[in-house]
Amino acid sequence: MNKIKLLFVFAALMLAVPSFAAIDTIAVDVGISVFQTMPIGVVPFEEEGKIKWTSEAPHLILARDANLSGRFEAVPSDQFDLVLFSKKRARQYVTGNATKLSNGKIKLDCYLYAAETKDLLLGESYTVKPYDVRQAVHSFFDKVVYRLFGERGVATTKLAYVSKIDGTKQVVISDYDGFSRRQITRDSSINMMPVWQKNNKGLVYVNFRNQRPNLYAITFGGKETPLFTQFKQTFSPAVNPKTGELLFSVTDGGKTEIYRGDMKTGSAQKFLHLKSNQVSPSWSPFASEVLFTSDRGGSPQVYAVGKDGTDVRRITYMGHYNERASWSPEGDRIVYTSMDEGKMNIYTCALDGTDIIQLTSNAGNNEHPTWSPDGKLIAFASDRGGNYQIYIMRKDGSSVTRITSGTENTSPTWSWFFDEKK
């Protein structure tokens, strides 16, 4: 078993090294890092007054954020320990103070220190209700990412996904790490395919209350609106990250085609003029191109096309079922789902379809990949543990972590960045 695993690791190494040579954060499973993630010390907060944490203590949230981020590796320690930090090459560490206030709120002072000099690199203070501690700590963690990498982190982002609640598929959202879950739909038919509206102000999803798939938009804390009611059956929504415009599939007379529509006015035009069926549109990061799936070659394959609907080119050639492609936020790779002998697995490839890397294998079905907005991670659904749950992995397929549990959870879609002041 171990031998097989090791072989797989070597195979992954062989595949991974040339393609990611320019990227500094790749790591391969079972602890052998090709390009080291950055170790960071994590020390428990000093607590004033006995504090009962709603979910976890702040340092545990920070350690989880660090390990999930694809950038760090947490080096936990009960107190500041320069020997340990030096040995593990943790050049910085995070810690803080927590004070219980008389009004029931908690004051969190969070710090990022340089380990050797003990210089304070970053300090942030939050006064929050106990339930909002996670949010505050995530916020601090993203500031740490910004301080050390000059990039935005994903600890404050969220996921939308489909959860089976009392036997009905409902759309829910949660923090990117699976905590703080909130149910969005309550309709008793089927709710599915959630995607985030521009600026994360709400979702677009599919509902079957009219005994057929139809798109709806919902604003958080607001109301639900049916979309593009001029069509009988609509699904596969994709939001343009720049304009908020929607691409979606329309089924009419047995033919499924992609349309482009404005959610505000309700007007929509045919996007592609092809004879084949088309589903699963996905915008490129700067909305200059679109990926979609077509069966024009006899089996579902991934194609790319310009934003004006011209210059169709085929991306995938290997295998008989390649679907649901989505463009990485960094713009350099495509992730998609491929089916072989009835099993679904996740692959990435370069923009011209070459340099294919299989990210999942020998672990049930793995499908519906979605990029984190920083392009470092991929969330997906897998039934490897018996029933479908949501997992997060690094973009090279390593560090797979389950983030949901309970009844079936499927079809994750990662939010955009939430705009926060730095």
Binding site: F208, P213, S249, T256, S280, D295, R324, M344
Partner: protein, 193 residues
């Protein structure tokens, strides 16, 4: 106007009331006129009472007939809703078995013109949600097109897709898959005017 026609009219009116459906509007139109006719003679009133009494028993007979008719329709609808059309993996063309079954379905629908049918296209659990909705749509449309070609009024047939969302049989083997790759009929009776 002869009594017989009046009887027939009252009978119809009651029958439609009982059935909750009135498709032949013109025949119910004369009624208001009858009601508005000046009842200035006793003879007229007597006749009206006699008519109503007979109409009562007539209505009872009619109700029994309708009950039998309803049972017959119910059985037919049940049959339509249990007989699914099955497809091969990732295919939407009709097998010989499917065609034979659809010919029988078409026969029923050609005769029962009040049946409104929604053809649901379904797929097995393999593949993505998105692709399976398009596959289910192709299946339901192929079935709909077959029935229309057979002579069923296209206006009474709607094709929709559920993709892989509503499996008939749970499981992840061919036995379950083959039962889930189907077109399913949902039947209602036109009762609006």
């Amino acid at each position: 106007m002869s009594k017989i026609i009046k009887f027939a009219m009252m009978g119809f009116a009651l029958a439609f009331f009982a059935w909750g459906c009135s498709k032949e509007k013109p025949e119910t139109d004369p009624n208001p006129k009858t009601a508005e006719a000046p009842a200035d003679s006793l003879l007229n009133l007597d006749a009206l009472i006699a008519d109503t009494l007979s109409a009562d028993s007539l209505a009872r007979l009619e109700a029994e007939r309708l009950e039998a008719e309803r049972a017959r329709l119910e059985e037919m609808i049940n049959r339509l809703m249990t007989e699914d059309v099955y497809f091969d993996y990732d295919r939407s063309d009709l097998t010989e078995n499917a065609k034979r079954l659809l010919a029988q379905v078409a026969e029923i629908l050609v005769n029962e013109t009040r049946f409104i049918v929604t053809v649901e296209g379904h797929t097995d659990a393999r593949g993505t949600e998105d692709y399976n909705i398009s596959l289910g749509a192709r299946r339901s449309t192929v079935v709909r097109d077959f029935l229309v070609a057979y002579g069923v009024d296209a206006g009474r047939l709607m094709a929709v897709s559920y993709g892989k969302e509503r499996p008939k049989v749970q499981g992840s083997d061919e036995a379950a898959y083959s039962k889930n790759r189907r077109a399913h009929f949902r039947v209602s009776i036109a009762n609006n005017e």
